[in-house]
Symmetry: C2
Subunit: 262 residues, 2 copies
């Protein structure tokens, strides 16, 4: 099996994950030989940023690389895989980057199929701290799993081998702590905006709330009217939220849920 | 009116807010002449940390200071204020540090009553970044308001004058972005623990989610299955959550709430 430094990689997709993964691989001196995007402007932007070649046609993807990383939307993995299966030799390793998608979707490449899932939220205009991003890998075959593990360790200090089921569970947890938490941030912003108060009022609070749970468990960090059963404050808040029926209902349900923990 | 540097301050209470506020005032060279706590050990700990005197008896609080900051539980403000009113001269400024409590609870000190509310979550074992903490001030009288504003500016670069109603709204927003978000972090931790997966898997994600909204608005940062109406993933997640009926219900309601935004 090749050393990680000798591996050549193709990244298929140039959305938020593909874009950052491409830059990440190059930063860690992994040979990224080609990137693919359906959108020429995005393919070109990424290829130029990392000084590699690009294509906008799946049929023109090089067949010379060792690993193909599919960083496309979950709903596109299956059809992209089918198109690649028609052109790639059978010894190529093909992985997807999806938390929610089973590895079996890459059945055409069995036993060289795998998963390479960075558990982080990516945006084009933010540079993440690559070193600390957990990478969850899996593969149908032990050899491939080892290789993906080594590739992961080249990118990050935190690499886990997670089965399909474990990765799916991690993805559910991620939805709560990221997508749903962000929605609560938005509710905060909405409530403040209604009174023409700036979102800046709570930005430091949001950052500190997240910083606290880096060392501690959230259960021990819970504060506020719900956990201390401060019914006077809760009643005042619910009264204020009459004008936002949806937020009022969420307030009640989340308050009940916090109370139910103790 | 005295210059801020000449003001002498008493902090009443040595919980998380009192403890950090005490250290904060001393760090910014405000004269903190005495701290009060019902608990001798806590009073002593704080007094030693900041090299000032302490008392565990409200009746022994000095009557010589200019400003008395009540950093006690919301439910104790009223009785502490009544006890202080019995001993303090009528020209003393008395403020509380509560987001949820109207200023009128300090009626005995009118017109020298006010509010000095640092909008942050405090823990004994964490050093907050004082400079960036928004301080929300209010006072019954213009002169007192100005003085509290200057005291606030001495502690932080961000001071707002908020009315009772505005402060109450900011407090509701704070409950969503801090208490409720922390509860979602806990749900993530619970789900991971059930599968014996480490909370470390999502800690970087939590930090990045909070970091993102420091420059952007959360509405523009929303990602995940709910916003992209990925019903296949949502169904898989709900299916998994069958074993956590409460979390399943929350998942459904939060998903609906995100969808309703668009």
């Amino acid at each position: 099996m090749k050393a990680v430094t000798k591996l050549s990689v193709v990244v298929v997709g140039s959305g938020n994950v593909g874009f950052h993964l491409g830059r990440w691989l190059v930063e860690r001196e992994v040979q990224l030989v080609q990137v693919f995007s359906r959108t020429e402007a995005k393919a070109q932007q990424l290829a130029e940023a990392i000084n590699t070649s690009f294509t906008t046609s799946l049929s023109e993807i090089t067949t010379e690389a060792d690993i193909y990383i599919l960083a496309v939307q979950d709903s596109a993995i299956s059809s992209v895989a089918a198109q690649l299966a028609a052109i790639l030799p059978s010894d190529k390793i093909v992985v997807h980057t999806s938390g929610a998608t089973p590895m079996t979707i890459l059945q055409p490449f069995f036993p060289h199929s795998g998963v390479f899932y960075p558990l982080q939220t990516f945006s084009i205009d933010r540079q993440p701290d690559f070193e600390s991003i957990p990478i969850c890998i899996d593969a149908a075959e032990e050899d491939v799993r080892e290789l993906l593990f080594l590739l992961g360790k080249r990118l990050s200090s935190v690499v886990y081998h997670l089965t399909d089921e474990q990765r799916a569970v991690a993805h559910v947890a991620a939805v709560f702590v990221n997508n749903f938490a962000n929605h609560l941030f938005q509710i905060g912003a909405d409530i403040l905006q209604k009174e023409q108060l700036p979102f800046d009022l709570v930005r430091p609070l949001i950052l500190e709330t997240a910083a606290k749970v880096q060392q501690h468990f959230p259960e021990t960090m819970q504060t506020g009217p719900a956990i201390r059963r401060d019914t006077l404050t809760i009643e005042r808040h619910l009264n204020y939220l009459e004008q936002f029926p949806n937020y009022k209902m969420l307030y009640q349900i989340l308050t009940e849920s916090i109370r139910a923990e103790r």
